[in-house]
């Protein structure tokens, strides 16, 4: 067998698929992060990923396809989140705390009872991007497309709702529907990204690009664009770094994102200093 040159290994289908997964997941997480950060519900990523984990584990135990049941559980969780918090007149963060604790316990109970092959369970928890198939990538592209369509179509209404949900509702905008759609989309983004980053890392992939963009952006339009671009760029650079140095992929991407956040925070600090001098 002829020895491959170092760069040639990246042309293998395995690496191409992993690279694409990271880039697409990075972009869709970055965009979803823009909503999540402004809605001030950062833990929705962790809670939804644990719903996916519980759904996946119990799906396998009950003889159902693991990925499908994980997806169904995360969509169900994000779809119920808004109506439940509105109905019980409680903040979404309070509901998330309760759901997170319950779902984690449910997932761990399932792990304890599960006697079969545990690879699927670990991939939901830690992610395993090298197990991504073309169908997974197509699904991620589908979720990203829906997200982009949602942003383009509802741009003005979305911005008004994120600015002040009550004011938007009182000024004739169907704020509740838009709010629920944002939560539902977040659920879809999380479940599509589980293979890439895993339930624990996806939180960072959602929050960090948006947090970095918020440091430097003046306008809402630039914030949305930069948030998605930072996620995409981190997914690309993080995955290439992970391939080059044989590092865990999800963690490398998230650390790269944290680096971008640090740079943006330093930039903001110096910009404020400059304004103070002026």
């Amino acid at each position: 067998m002829a020895k491959k040159t170092p760069w040639k290994k990246y042309m293998d289908e395995l690496y191409v698929k992993a690279f694409l997964s990271c880039v697409i997941t990075g972009a869709s997480c970055g965009l979803a992060g823009a909503f999540i950060l402004l809605l001030e519900i950062p833990f929705v990523g962790v809670a939804v990923s644990h719903a996916a984990m519980a759904g996946g584990v119990w799906g396998v135990i009950l003889g159902l396809p693991g990925k499908l049941s994980a997806f169904a559980a995360s969509i169900l969780m994000s779809a119920l989140l808004g109506p439940v918090s509105d109905r019980v007149k409680s903040s979404v963060n309070s509901i998330l705390s309760v759901m997170f604790a319950f779902l984690m316990a449910l997932a761990l109970l399932g792990v304890g009872l599960f006697e079969g092959h545990r690879q699927m369970l670990y991939s939901v928890l830690w992610g395993n991007v090298f197990l991504s198939g073309w169908m997974d990538i197509l699904f991620s592209i589908f979720v990203l497309s829906i997200e982009l369509l949602f942003i383009f179509y509802y741009y003005n209404r979305l911005m008004f709702v994120l600015f002040n949900r009550e004011m938007a509702a009182a000024n004739g905008i169907k704020a509740r529907g838009i709010y629920y759609m944002m939560l539902l989309l977040t659920g879809a983004v999380v479940s599509a990204g589980l293979n890439t980053a895993g339930g624990l890392m996806i939180f960072g992939m959602i929050i960090l690009p948006a947090a970095a963009a918020k440091q430097v952006c003046v306008s809402f339009k630039s914030f949305i664009i930069l948030s998605g671009a930072a996620g995409l760029f981190s997914g690309a650079c993080g995955s290439l770094l992970a391939f080059a140095f044989n590092l865990p992929l999800g963690a490398t991407v998230v650390i790269f994102m944290a680096g971008i956040f640090a740079v943006s925070a330093v930039y903001k600090h110096f910009r404020q200093l400059r304004f103070k001098k002026i």
Binding site: L38, E40, A170
Partner: protein
């Protein structure tokens, strides 16, 4: 033109296990500037939210003769550092009104000239002063051409000077556009002088409804509101 524009009949509101409003009867005429005053927790915000359809009554009836209304709530997102310019927010509020692009542009230009906020359009909203933020939010509401304007405690984050300016502005807007205004406040000294009619809400019930001079002409005006 002085027909009934908004009304509440025997309105009851229960939130959780607490009765917030009890058999409230109120009629508001078109073009009125009405001040809704009362101590904290008296149900002022709940009452205006009932008119706007944000709170469902447990009993009674609420009717509003228009779907064109604007509401500036007590709290805004300023603490969150919302990443948007003042101009972007005003343009966003104008979208979906059914007006074409040129009409929207013209309307926005008129409003920003009227409120004198041309210089802050490119600034980040959260970096503006309290008074400037209120003006931007007022512009966001006005570009939607409301027939009813609800201002819920606009004095909360303003110093007296900025508040006085805002009151003058609200009064000018009311007169120029003939908009019905409901002004909510809990402080007697922050009541707009232009408001001819005052409604005092106490423990979920209306304890006074009449001309402002009739209320303040009484020796026990403070007692009537807060006692």
């Amino acid at each position: 033109m002085n027909n009934v524009f908004a009304s509440a009949e025997n309105l009851d509101v229960i939130l959780g296990s607490k009765k917030i409003l009890s058999r409230v009867n109120l009629k508001i005429k078109q073009g009125e500037f009405i001040t809704l005053i009362g101590p904290n927790g008296s149900g002022k915000t709940t009452l205006v939210k009932c008119f706007l359809g944000l709170v469902k009554p447990a009993g009674g009836k609420v009717s509003l003769m228009t779907e064109k209304y604007g509401y500036i709530p007590q709290s805004s997102c300023e603490e969150r550092g919302f990443p948007a310019t003042a101009g972007e927010l005003i343009e966003t509020a104008a979208a979906g009104t059914g007006m074409n692009k040129d009409a929207v542009k013209k309307e926005i230009n008129e409003i920003i000239t009227e409120l004198k906020i041309q210089k802050i359009l490119k600034s980040r909203f959260y970096e503006l002063s309290g008074g400037e933020k209120q003006k931007v939010m007022l512009a966001m509401v006005l570009v939607r051409k409301p027939e009813l304007l609800v201002l819920d405690e606009p004095n909360l984050n303003l110093d007296p000077y900025a508040y006085l300016n805002f009151l003058k502005l609200a009064d000018a807007v009311h007169k120029k556009h003939n908009i019905t205004v409901i002004f909510v406040t809990h402080m007697i000294n922050t009541m707009p002088v232009s408001s001819a009619r005052v409604v005092v809400l106490k423990k979920g019930e209306i304890s006074f409804d009449g001309r402002a001079d009739r209320l303040f002409g009484k020796k026990n005006a403070m007692e009537k509101i807060y006692g």
